[in-house]
């Protein structure tokens, strides 16, 4: 096995040990492991580390004096409902509780990208890119022919993403897939530059152009012709910029 085929396998091996692997990924991993001693060894060492941690690392229990102190706090704090229900209805009180929790920054849902994709959730695009790098996730349609890729999106999206082949310029199109980011379907076109993959996310709208670096991935954002574009890759920024200019037709 070449080293290239091991790309992304480390996180798959970890996900398998953590019980977070889907059936399709598990199958891809099994096939790879059968022929790769390096990855077999990695799986072995991660597995025995897990076993050791669970067996030998202390899981500290709350000491009795702490438990007593907490119980005393619980007993001495007046019932919240008793304090406010006299002034607000129970339903309002419930909403107030939720509001207070939100205000305190404790809402569990605050991390979810609830708005349409924009500059602020570059993380979501990087996560989608990393997910896609795992075996079996990259393409829904694997084709270097834009006349195959473009029609594939028909009926799957409520818009038609522009699909251009840049093989002659050194950025061949290799496929496409559907992604769901921040609650909406976006087209993801996959291009290759040498050994680097570039995910180009496309969805309708317009926004300011920007450039971000998140977790070592370069993210170029721009809009053209009523479409938003996000290019995400570990490819170096200069070549990403050239890719962008080839797509926008501006040099």
């Amino acid at each position: 096995m070449t080293r290239e085929s091991c790309e992304g396998m480390d996180l798959l091996i970890q996900a398998e040990l953590d019980g977070e692997l889907g059936a399709a990924e598990a199958a891809a991993l099994t096939v790879h492991l059968a022929g790769c001693e390096t990855c077999q060894a990695l799986r072995q060492s991660l597995g025995s580390l897990s076993a050791r941690l669970r067996a030998d690392a202390p899981r500290y229990a709350a000491p009795p004096h702490l438990r007593r102190a907490v119980l005393a706090d619980v007993a001495s704090q007046p019932s919240w409902r008793g304090r406010v229900a006299t002034r607000w209805s129970k339903r309002d009180a419930g909403w107030f509780g939720a509001g207070a929790a939100l205000a305190a920054g404790l809402s569990l849902l605050a991390w979810l990208p609830l708005h349409s994709p924009d500059q602020s959730n570059t993380d979501a695009f990087v996560s989608a890119h990393i997910r896609a790098l795992q075996p079996g996730h990259l393409f829904d349609v694997a084709s270097t022919d834009r006349h195959t890729v473009k029609p594939w999106f028909d009926g799957r999206l409520d818009f038609a993403p522009p699909v251009r082949d840049l093989a002659a310029q050194g950025y061949p199109l290799t496929g496409g897939r559907l992604d769901y980011i921040a609650g909406r379907a976006v087209a993801a076109l996959v291009y290759r530059r040498d050994k680097h993959l570039i995910d180009l996310f496309v969805w309708p709208g317009s926004g300011a152009a920007s450039f971000h670096v998140v977790q070592g991935y370069n993210i170029f954002a721009w809009s053209q012709g009523g479409m938003n574009f996000r290019a995400v890759s570990d490819l170096e920024a200069g070549q990403m910029d050239r890719f962008k200019h080839l797509l926008t037709g501006k040099t």
Binding site: A61, A62, A98, I130
Partner: protein, 165 residues
């Protein structure tokens, strides 16, 4: 006498040990862990009416917030170096009698290796291996995308397997 906070006692209190374990690993010190957990439980008591879903990740997120708020305060006061709690405060190395007596040498080495991890890696490892949280739950607690959880966990494990245990 009826319980004053029946919901809290039913949903949140059962996770007191988990809260303490996470606080203990984050703070690396039993006394600090006591303070963090007591404050976190008071906050949880105040806000649990807004709780939806599983209480455990919700409570652990509060514990984590309290820990970092206190750490920030101490850093501002110049009590803690900016680059971490410091290797001189590893559990085991400082000699907390109840744990030293109970643990084998092997266990102590493991303990020190975990404690020596940077905070952002250590919390992911403890949440996954000791509290058995899912990637999604860890992402909620730590407030980072799942992809980040995966890469931090992997980095933590790489460092752990690289450490002489």
């Amino acid at each position: 006498m009826p319980k004053r906070h029946p919901e809290f006692e039913r949903l949140v209190l059962p996770h007191l040990d988990a809260a303490y374990n996470v606080a203990r690993w984050l703070a690396g010190d039993p006394t600090a862990a006591d303070d963090i957990v007591q404050e976190a439980m008071l906050r949880a008591l105040r806000y649990h009416q807004g709780l939806r879903g599983d209480a455990k990740p919700w409570l652990l997120r509060i514990v984590r917030n309290v820990f970092y708020a206190r750490l920030d305060a101490r850093r501002r006061a110049g009590e803690v170096p900016l680059d971490g709690i410091g290797l001189d405060r590893l559990p085991g190395a400082t000699g907390t009698p109840e744990t030293d007596l109970d643990q084998s040498q092997r266990s102590q080495a493991l303990d020190r290796a975990i404690a020596g991890l940077p905070e952002e890696l250590r919390e992911c490892l403890v949440l996954r291996e000791l509290e058995e949280m899912t990637y999604k739950e860890i992402a909620e607690i730590v407030e980072v995308p799942i992809g980040t959880v995966m890469s931090r966990l992997f980095r933590a494990r790489q460092l752990m397997t690289g450490a002489a245990l």
